[in-house]
């Protein structure tokens, strides 16, 4: 009973600001022209391309965040408590900077006349400026930077639950540091990798500002497209249908993922 009372504000919040708007959006997509907006989107090669681009960028971003974030989280887990505090502050620090400011900083660094190109050309490593901005590379770079704290903190909280005596047990029974890591720590950190991967991927799906500022036309993501349909073309049913489809795709991914995750748990690949 008390639990229900305590839950009520959150449930109300979700209903009022998430479920209701989503329902309205879906209703909107059907209201005027029936299934026509869905047909338009599913048959349009442009929309399919944008969706594929979005998935590609999200996949690269997720992999990049995990690859860069894992060593940091590992270090946070195994280092001395004093050092851990300092490192955690450094990890969280970028959160204090506005998203747009961070994207613009990348533009200053990566642009045709940006810091890096001036150095590279100035020192004679390259004839002309390197194409660093407005491409897949810059979009993924910007997104990884923004999503890295989330990745690291999720991995770190999962790694904290691993009993480090297990690594000692591996070492005393003949495993070098590297093999102890591969055979014990890494498998036990898989739940953390799954959780972080999922969170980062889903967050990346909705990115709008970063691809708009750091990407070219080729890197147009689904959120940008929906924005254009809604605010430039003023075609609300079409925008709603695109939004609803994104929701369906995301939900399907989540379902497949959670199934895979639970399967893994059944096989025993989870820390205590």
């Amino acid at each position: 009973m008390l639990a229900m009372v305590l839950l009520a504000p959150m449930l109300l919040w979700i209903v009022a600001f998430f479920i209701l708007p989503t329902a309205l959006m879906i209703w909107e997509s059907f209201a005027e022209r029936g299934l026509a907006p869905y047909a338009a989107i599913l048959t349009s090669p442009i929309y399919r391309k944008v969706l594929l681009t979005t998935l590609k960028i999200c996949l690269i971003t997720t992999s990049g965040s995990l690859l860069l974030g894992y060593p940091v989280a590992y270090m946070l887990t195994t280092c001395r408590p004093a050092l851990r505090k300092l490192l955690l502050v450094l990890v969280v620090l970028p959160y204090w900077l506005d998203l747009i400011v961070r994207s613009y900083s990348w533009m200053i660094l990566l642009g045709r006349h940006g810091l890096i190109n001036q150095l590279v050309v100035g020192l004679g490593f390259s004839e002309g400026a390197l194409p660093l901005l407005y491409n897949l590379f810059s979009v993924c770079l910007g997104m990884v930077q923004i999503l890295l704290p989330l990745t690291i903190l999720t991995l770190f909280s999962a790694m904290l639950r691993i009993d480090l005596r297990l690594v000692d047990a591996a070492a005393i029974h003949g495993a070098s540091r590297w093999r102890a890591f591969l055979t014990v720590f890494l498998p036990l950190s898989l739940p953390g990798i799954y959780a972080a991967g999922l969170l980062v991927f889903v967050s990346a799906l909705g990115f709008y500002v970063t691809p708009a500022l750091l990407g070219g036309p080729e890197q147009t993501m689904i959120s940008q497209t929906i924005m254009v349909i809604a605010s430039d073309l003023l075609d609300w049913p079409l925008a709603s249908a695109a939004g609803a489809l994104l929701l369906v795709v995301t939900t399907c991914l989540l379902l497949v993922y959670s199934r895979f995750f639970r399967l893994d748990r059944m096989l025993g690949g989870v820390a205590r």
């Binding site: 009993d163 005596r165 297990l166 000692d168 047990a169 591996a170 070492a171 005393i172 029974h173 003949g174 495993a175 070098s176 540091r177 093999r179 102890a180 055979t183 014990v184 498998p187 036990l188 025993g268 690949g269 989870v270 820390a271 205590r272």
Partner: protein, 377 residues
Amino acid sequence: MGLAAPGREDRRAAEAGVEVRLDRLTKLFGAITAVDEISLTIPAGSFVTLLGPSGSGKTTTLNLIAGFLTPDGGDISFDGQAVGAVPPHRRNIGMVFQSYALFPHMTVFGNVAYPLRMRERPGRAHLAARVGETLAMVGLSGLEHRYPRQLSGGQQQRVAMARALVSRPRLLLMDEPLGALDKKLRERLQGEIKQLHRQIGSTFVYVTHDQTEALTMSDMVVVMHDSRIVQVGSPRAVYEAPVNAFVADFLGGANLLPGEVLARQHACYAVRIPNGEVVAVPHLGGSLVAGSAVTVFVRPEDIRIGASAASAESQVATPAVIREILYVGEAFRVTAMIGDQPIVVRAHRTEAQQVEIGRTVSVAWPTERSRALDVTT
């Protein structure tokens, strides 16, 4: 527990216990000295227990031997070879951890096979044979495909033993391996561990704060207190001839009566005890002078009370007032007052029936069962 007849390989292993030598070993944690210049030789093939209360440095010592910690001073050597620069995985040690530290993502087979996979490159058949043999040794055959979380505490303990033993290490370290188990199981496993030690012949170093465990299992007990070694000796030596009040008390119920040395005679001190009487306590070469404060030590089971106290010879007998009689199952625990100091007697049923609370009776103990402990050590 099923015991396979020792083959040629087993007998070779039996000769292969390692001698461990600690030389002025020191470990600091910040400002705290966890291990303070301890020196100790652990004979090859022996069963040695580091015994002490928590914080006495025994687990730190074990972790130094394992190589998990780097000493801040002193040396460790195995068979005369310094191992300071050898990482844990090359020390060829087996270890049973306090919470077992079994790999939760591996089956029993995977856990026990782990040291073999890391140390050798065994063929599949060889691996299965060695793991099966070791599991049979600890009585766990048939559970190969279970995960640790599907096992009882006792079974997990045996898996941990099997993992530690499977590669026939010359040194086995055990960090309170029975701490999490109930009393009955603990006693059974004590016997099994002792048996495994006899069978394998490796050097066993066992850490515990349980004095019964230390006394029943060890060839040699190392009593630690405040980061130092207080006494090293056989279980009988540390129990019956403790060097100071701490050891006397830590190894089991000890009566420690404050007294004053009146004279040093040819074999004994004459000591005044709290009821004003003067008793004889062997000096065993001690050099306390008249007037020194001393603690008279005697075990509860060495004291007789009432009528049986009067009979024996070469005894100390002194009056005491009965304060409490407790039934503890196999015996009675009688508390009597010698002056203002309580003395605990472990009394047989017949003895206990002869005494009453409030009565003054005679308590007696054989002189040679008592010790004069210097209060300054």
